[in-house]
Symmetry: C2
């Protein structure tokens, strides 16, 4: 189970499984069949069985899945059985929106500080998280265990800052700047492009209006 | 080309192709080989050829791809050869961040209004886009052509509002509320879960630290 190469598509679906199972747990659901789970999640039951088989299955013939167990196990696979410290670079609207998500903490992601260049923002706090000057960034990283830096910066500044961050030891970048950042080897980058999901939406909207081929 | 069923994975990659080609265009690059494009995009050249073959190819043996032509054609596939009017429901940090993205307009997405319940926000403007009372929502939709509603709302309010919006004729929902919304048939929903990409990041970070199987 441990280091087998799991396909990107499966990894992409794991957070959804995790969220759904979390919702079921909140509703005190104890067990669920792959059929019920598939209806809730809008994927086929065989897809679910296949996906979970990558990690050893978890299901029992005739019983289905134990919700709490499956939730815990998928959480472990996702690395959610430990804590992550996050800093946010950029205290604009998006940076503030991220700082306001209390949901992240529930999953073990703790936002420790926000950094910005704007003197009018420096010193303010969001949910008790201080906005600090970008000049303190290197020092902060050196004196605190920071696992992930979220970048909510203009495109023009993102690449240089990402490079500095990795030089200072950051291994995880959650990049919202509208440019793809790649690092070789041991730095993990997750690029988030809000416009991409908007384009998927327009694809599907216009697909609907297209005349069918025959 | 028109209504052939294209796999989700391909559709997921199209916005990236479009963005990369747009970057190349800005740098006045006229043509590119699938090999060069693949290096830039971090996918294999054969993947690119395969993906684009879904739409008839576009490449010429020994020449590669004409950047402008490919950009235009992928844009058409993505439905970007027309305009979309967007409204944002929720003028919190995330709603304001979306309203501030001028990039969307470049791709044909025009934000027409923002709606909120907070009297302190109603009447303010973001980049010239007015924040209106949620009480005006139904009327606004009836008197304006609205293609897409972006939902930046608490989980507890999202489902009901989504249902109202579709009743009033909205066909596209871009949902940022931390709950999956599904509608049958002719309403297209794109659910964006920021936490999902964070969990992918933690998956990859913890995968790195796992001892290899053998």
């Amino acid at each position: 189970m441990q280091n087998k190469k799991i396909s990107k598509a499966v990894i992409n679906r794991l957070p959804r499984y995790y969220r759904y199972l979390g919702d079921l747990l909140e509703k005190d659901v104890v067990r669920i069949s792959s059929k019920e789970l598939s209806e809730k999640m809008n994927v086929t039951a065989s897809q679910i069985r296949q996906d979970l088989n990558n990690f050893g299955g978890f299901g029992q013939q005739g019983y289905g899945y134990n919700v709490e167990y499956l939730h815990t196990e998928i959480g472990k696979i996702l690395g959610l059985d430990r804590k992550y410290n996050i800093i946010i670079i950029g205290a604009g609207n998006l940076g503030q929106a991220l700082a306001n998500y209390s949901d992240f903490e529930r999953r073990g992601f703790y936002i420790k500080a926000i950094f910005d260049v704007n003197p009018r923002l420096i010193g303010l706090s969001i949910r008790g998280i201080e906005i600090r000057s970008i000049d303190e960034l290197e020092d902060f990283i050196k004196h605190n265990q920071v696992d992930i830096a979220a970048l909510t910066l203009p495109k023009s500044k993102a690449a240089q800052l990402a490079s500095d961050l990795t030089k200072w030891g950051i291994k995880g970048l959650w990049n919202f700047a509208p440019t793809d950042i790649h690092f070789p080897q041991d730095v993990i980058v997750e690029n988030v492009h809000l416009a991409d999901s908007l384009m998927k939406l327009s694809y599907k909207l216009s697909e609907k209006d297209r005349p069918a081929d025959n």
